[in-house]
């Protein structure tokens, strides 16, 4: 299931990689194989200057001080990049990971807020990754704010939303204005398609570029080297998307 010479997942990995800095520390949660692969690819591309921790990973997991160490490290300012998603995301970049309907008597309950309410405040570059681009996800106003997109000045905050990557487009978030701006539309997608499927208002430049296709050399590195790195943490993903099959380990 490839579009041209790459799969949709490979396209998203390459797209996310371009949003990452040349150095610093990224932390990746358990359920984020595409961001995880993107971060590991960036590590390869930067010769290790960009460092990656898979926080529940069997490999590439440097944490040794229990579950709080990631959050402590973020509080210390040592985590530069983190990824979040949401059941709902609204135009102020508020995230809902808890449920839809009136809380606490929600109609549909989801797992919960995880560390979002904290990481969103402490990590300078949070990338929102939510492939499903529909009005069910991108709403005018979330039903429950797990983590707010912006904060008043009397709340200490060094971190927050940087960009949003979906199956249709990239949006950048302007914290001062508390609004998204459409940055680029993926190949074969249109601005109208983005508008029709987004429940919130966003800034639209006069000319919206097309998101670049994956660079062939990046695809080569991705396919040759990243499967092995993610297999310990995301075995299904490594096999299905990156064609990597690890031997069984005990």
């Amino acid at each position: 299931m490839t579009t041209g010479a790459y799969s949709p997942e490979e396209f998203l990995i390459a797209t996310v990689t371009r949003l990452l800095p040349e150095r610093g520390n990224a932390a990746i949660g358990a359920a984020s194989p595409i961001p995880g692969a993107a971060a590991l690819l960036q590590r390869e591309l930067t010769g290790g200057a960009f460092r990656v921790s898979l926080i529940h990973g069997v490999t590439n997991n440097p944490f040794t001080d229990g579950g709080r160490e990631l959050f402590d490290a973020a509080g210390q300012g040592r985590i530069d990049v983190f990824f979040l998603g949401g059941v709902q995301i609204d135009g102020q970049a508020n995230l809902n990971l808890v449920g839809t309907g009136d809380y606490p008597a929600v109609d549909r309950r989801f797992p919960g807020s995880f560390g979002s309410a904290y990481m969103y405040f402490t990590v300078p570059r949070v990338i929102l990754f939510r492939p499903e681009h529909t009005r069910r996800v991108f709403v005018e106003k979330v039903d429950f704010i797990s983590a707010p997109g912006v904060s008043p000045p009397d709340v200490r905050r060094r971190g927050g939303p940087h960009a949003l990557v979906t199956e249709l487009c990239i949006m950048m978030f302007d914290r001062a204005r508390a609004r998204f701006r459409l940055e680029s539309v993926h190949p074969g997608r249109s601005v109208e398609e983005v508008r029709d499927n987004t429940g919130f208002d966003f800034d639209l430049p006069d000319r919206v570029p097309t998101t670049p296709e994956p660079e062939p050399e990046r695809l080569d590195i991705l396919r040759a080297r990243i499967g092995r790195e993610v297999a310990g943490t995301y075995p299904d993903f490594a096999a299905r998307v990156l064609g990597y099959r690890a031997r069984a380990t005990g």
Binding site: R109, F114, G115, A117, D154
Partner: protein
């Protein structure tokens, strides 16, 4: 020296109505003990996930053992939503106290230090705070103009549960780098532990193993339970049985399906005969 017992006797030491701390699914969950708790018919538990939970909480909830649940998330991970948790919250059968990962770690650290509260950055503006009347947002109490900050009350679990790769005859328990289990054990009034293997010697006196050892001072009772974390994994010993978890996620989508799972996997033939 600490009394060594069996898993069912250990389950007897968890009183009804206890505030029970559970490790996350990736960190040494004593599943055999969870099943024994269900067999003993424990009631009205207040569960605390540290800071998230999955199969262990879902089984206890599905079996009707739980009154309230505090967690940053309850999920079966790659296998999807935790079915009994999701159903119970949607039906109002349990009361959910939504939290966020570092808030639970911090509240346990407050109990670990014996202080009534501890501050945490961020979180303000999240609706989590709105629904937690035990949490408090204050102006910088240092009077430094540092802005508002969240204060979290200490959480002191009545009982913490853990499954460890190793324990010794003195009651010391080795959990390696799973340091959140140190925090849980320090914070809880007592910790009940199951373990895979008995270590010959004193774990606290071993120059290498001591770094991953919870001393006996915190351990109330111990029981050996080989493969005691299954179907979850135990790092370095066995991996999670994802086929089992996926099948569970599917079967437990209805209460009838869950009941069938419970009868087959938890209550067992001998439990049936006894009932």
């Amino acid at each position: 020296m600490i009394a060594q017992t069996d898993v069912d006797a250990l389950a007897e030491q968890v009183p009804d109505g206890a505030l029970l701390a559970l490790p996350p699914d990736y960190s040494f969950v004593p599943m055999a003990l969870i099943r024994a708790l269900i067999r003993r018919g424990v009631k009205d538990l207040h569960l605390l996930a540290v800071p998230i939970s999955g199969l262990s909480a879902d089984l206890l909830i599905g079996a009707g053992c739980v009154k309230t649940m505090e967690a940053a998330a309850v999920t079966l991970g790659e296998a999807g939503l935790a079915p009994c948790f999701t159903r119970a919250v949607q039906d109002g059968a349990i009361r959910m106290k939504d939290s966020t990962c570092p808030a639970i770690h911090t509240a346990l650290q407050a109990a670990e230090k014996g202080v009534p509260f501890m501050p945490l950055g961020g979180v303000i503006g999240s609706d989590i705070v709105k629904y937690r009347d035990d949490w408090k947002v204050v102006d910088d109490p240092m009077g430094q103009g540092g802005g508002r900050i969240l204060l979290l009350p200490a959480i002191t679990p009545d009982v913490a549960l853990v499954h460890a790769p190793l324990a010794d005859a003195f009651g010391n328990v080795w959990v390696g780098k799973r340091h959140e289990l140190f925090t849980i054990a320090h914070a809880a009034r007592t910790t009940l532990a199951t373990y895979e293997e008995l270590h010959d010697g004193d774990l606290t006196a071993d120059p290498v193993l001591s770094a991953g050892t919870i001393p006996a001072m915190y351990i109330g009772a111990l029981a050996q339970a080989r493969e005691g974390a299954k179907p979850l994994g135990l790092a370095g010993r066995y991996v999670i049985d994802m086929d089992h978890i996926r099948a569970y996620a599917k079967e437990a989508r209805t209460q009838e399906g869950f009941d069938a799972y419970l009868k087959r996997e938890v209550l067992g033939p001998e439990a049936e005969a006894a009932s």
